[in-house]
Amino acid sequence: MYYMTKKLIQVKNISKQFPGVLANDKVSLDIEKGEIHAIVGENGAGKSTLMNIIYGLYEPTEGEIFFEGEPVEINSPLDAINLGIGMVHQHFMLLPSFTVAENIVLGTEPRKNRIFMDFKEAVSRTEELSKTYGLKVDPYRKVESLSVGIQQRIEILKVLYKGADILILDEPTAVLTPQEAEDLFNVIRKLVKDLGKTIIIITHKLQEVLAISDRVSVMRHGKMIGTLETKDADEQILAEMMVGREVLFEKLHKEKIPKEKVLSVKGIKARDNRDLIALDQVSFSLNAGEILGIAGVEGNGQSELVEVLTGLRKMEEGTFTVKGIEVFNKSPREIRDLGIAHVPEDRLATGLSSEATIWENMLMGIQHTEPYAIKGIHMNKKKIMERSDRLIEEFDIRTPTGDLPAGNLSGGNMQKMVIAREFSFNTPILIIAQPTRGVDVGAIEFIHSQIIEKRNKGAAILLVSADLDEIFRLSDRIITLYEGKITGEFLNGEISKKDIGLYMTGKHMDLAGRGASNE
């Protein structure tokens, strides 16, 4: 047992049963002191469940956890923190209207006379912490005014303040720009090398795993597939372990299609839900047979742009024309009739009804048209089911029958259902937002190939994605959006991922003038 000292956490044969799902099935894992350990797997593979067990949020159905060789029971996050285990969640748990210092000391506030919070002490502790770990923050700033990258930094400081030696980071780069992600990696490396911390990082981005981790463990369907040294791994090997079969990252074949302008957007201005200006003088055009990618950090107007173009949000100024017909604040029905189909960014909120059956979801948009509605009134169940079954097969939606509620499908299959429906309308224009968010690797491949096929058949596609890899993989042209304005426009291949990050964050305003040509 000479190696026991090196193994910080050992998880042995952990199972976790949820009603109907075995989320973890006899999972074993060991974490060594001072390593960066990546956990990868598709959505629903059981990564988060495992981490929540280690962090004391879930109680395992069976199995044991050892800490420094001793068996321990972690029944609550408090137990975890006492062992020095801290977790940074994917969704930040910060109070936006509080200052940085207040957020960091929250829960263990320094007090004056036992009653009043000692704000000065909180600030000085924050400053000290910030200096020790080399993570620069301004203790007086309110959290709501800070960028996502900085907010994440505060989350990490919060965990360190509580004395964590082991940090679990759940999908930390999901919301970051490439620059912010790079910063985060530097912080992680520093924490490990200079300060002797141990990091567990959950992710599904394979490039990041290769870039930062020492070892990587792969999970699939609740089982631990294996752990390997990162230096022995590559993207292909990891993807195969994740999916359980060979995954082809082949180059997508793109055909040349003659250019014909089908959508042109002129000077659109619109407000967001808080009534702040979300889009300002946005103009661009979209041609048949091309994919125009919109790159941007989330919350810079992409969602609003899609909503305006599909009739779900009113615009204040501007207009757009679809095949020469001018549109200003028309209803979603009218816009659909002009030939725009829409795959929304949030499928659960906008793209489907989880209570309704799959066939009912497939019917949306054509429920009043022949032959699915006889004389526009009586639902023709036979024709409806035929179409639904055909789409289920064509789009490889994994379900025993189309009669099940859509809520029973996995994320990837739900997305395939939404895409199947919207693609089946055969519209000349497709607006696709976040097509592969929360979708597993196998389905991503499929969805990408479907999008390219649509393009090759001559559809004009507007693609909005927070995933830069996706934008680069699919787009012919790329537009960057920052604070509601277009900051750049490029042909794919003209610009590197790194440079485009600068346009996405508005940091190269001097270059932006050159990029935002008016065509």
């Binding site: 009603p19 793209g351 639902m379």
Partner: protein, 360 residues
């Protein structure tokens, strides 16, 4: 190929039957606690509800307003807009029918009745249109406005029948009797069962067809499930909600019309003992399923009719039935929770079994 769907429906029917049985059991315990025999009590109830032609007729007479208000609730709740104002719409619809019946006394029989029906439905629908519009245009909570409008309607009609439209013959808190040709024929001697049950059957069939078989029914349902998705798919969700509200109000108005034309022959100050509320319970229990509304209405009608006979025969208070009704609701409300617990327990047991097998 429908096996899964059937499984879900079956699950619900099982829990419904369990809930009803459990409530009846609790009712039996209450009877026993008061020193009475449940067998005798329930026997009297059953006999009172279905024991004779007359009793059965009374049960079905009670079903008419329940089905109409139940369907009214089903259609509005399914569309995601909550009409709690059925009682008010019923009162106004009833008054409108009575007004037609005492004003247009020269109309021939068929036309008069149809006019009264249309008037009642229209008034009920319009009264529901207002909160529907307020909800959709100004986001004013329809639950609050419809509840408040109940009181307005009840007191307004109360004023009307006590002052401008009060009957001159005696102090009855009611209008004059409607003209003879407006009376719906009674079907069984001494019972209030009348031809309105045929109207009700026809309307129920229509609403069932609308809700379950048409594209418009699909629109209602999808708006109720996820209005954003409906809007995204090109349905005018706001208009759909208003239509559902108006239809719901019209159905409640009709329930009132039939009380006037078929039962009382005049508008009375307290014409409804809370039919719309009972209808709402019915719809809630069967999760807004139109067929379920009909079946459950008969059950509720039987409970109501039977409870009176039970009280007469065994001196068990008829209020016991209200207790039973409420307990059914409680169980149904807890259904999801119970099911979850049961599944969890079952899953836990399976894992333990598995682990046991491996150890052995």
């Amino acid at each position: 190929m429908n096996s899964k769907l059937f499984k879900k429906d079956l699950e619900y029917i099982v829990s419904l039957v369990l809930s009803i049985s459990a409530s009846l059991l609790i009712g039996a315990l209450i009877m026993m606690a008061n020193g009475r025999s449940p067998a005798v009590g329930y026997g009297a109830l059953l006999k009172g509800a279905f024991g004779s032609k007359y009793n059965m007729a009374n049960t079905f007479a009670k079903t008419v307003p329940l089905v109409l208000t139940g369907l009214a609730t089903a259609i509005s709740f399914r569309s995601g807009i909550f009409n709690i104002g059925g009682e008010g719409q019923l009162y106004l619809g009833a008054f409108a029918a009575a007004y037609v019946g005492i004003t247009f006394t020269t109309l021939p029989k068929g036309i008069g009745i149809i006019l009264a029906i249309i008037a009642g439905a229209l008034v009920g629908g319009l009264y529901a249109f207002v909160p529907g519009l307020l909800k959709v245009k100004y986001k004013i909570d329809e639950v609050i406005t419809t509840i408040m409008l109940n009181t307005v309607a009840v007191f307004f009609t109360s004023y009307l029948v006590n002052y401008p439209f009060a009957t001159t013959r005696g102090k009855l808190n009611g209008t004059e009797i409607i003209a003879d040709q407006f009376h719906l024929s009674r079907l069984i001697r001494l019972s209030t069962l009348n031809t309105s049950i045929f109207f009700m059957g026809f309307i129920a069939l229509l609403i069932y067809y609308l809700m379950e078989k048409t594209s418009t029914g699909y629109d209602f349902k999808l708006v109720g499930q996820n209005s954003l998705f409906a809007r995204f798919g090109g349905i005018n969700d706001r208009r759909q909600m208003i239509i559902a509200m108006v239809l719901s109000g019209a159905l409640c108005g009709l329930a009132g019309v039939f009380e006037v034309l078929g039962v009382h022959y005049r508008f009375l100050q307290n014409i409804s003992p809370g039919y719309a509320w009972d209808g709402m319970l019915v719809a809630l229990i069967v999760k807004n399923n139109p067929i379920g509304v009909i079946i459950m209405s008969i059950f509720f009608g039987a409970l109501k009719t039977g409870s009176i006979s039970m009280e007469n025969a065994t001196s068990i208070p008829s209020e016991l039935v209200l207790v039973i009704q409420s307990i059914i609701i409680l169980f149904i409300a807890g259904e999801a929770g119970f099911k979850e617990k049961f599944k969890e327990w079952n899953a836990g047991r399976k894992v333990k079994q598995k682990a046991g097998e491996r150890n052995a």
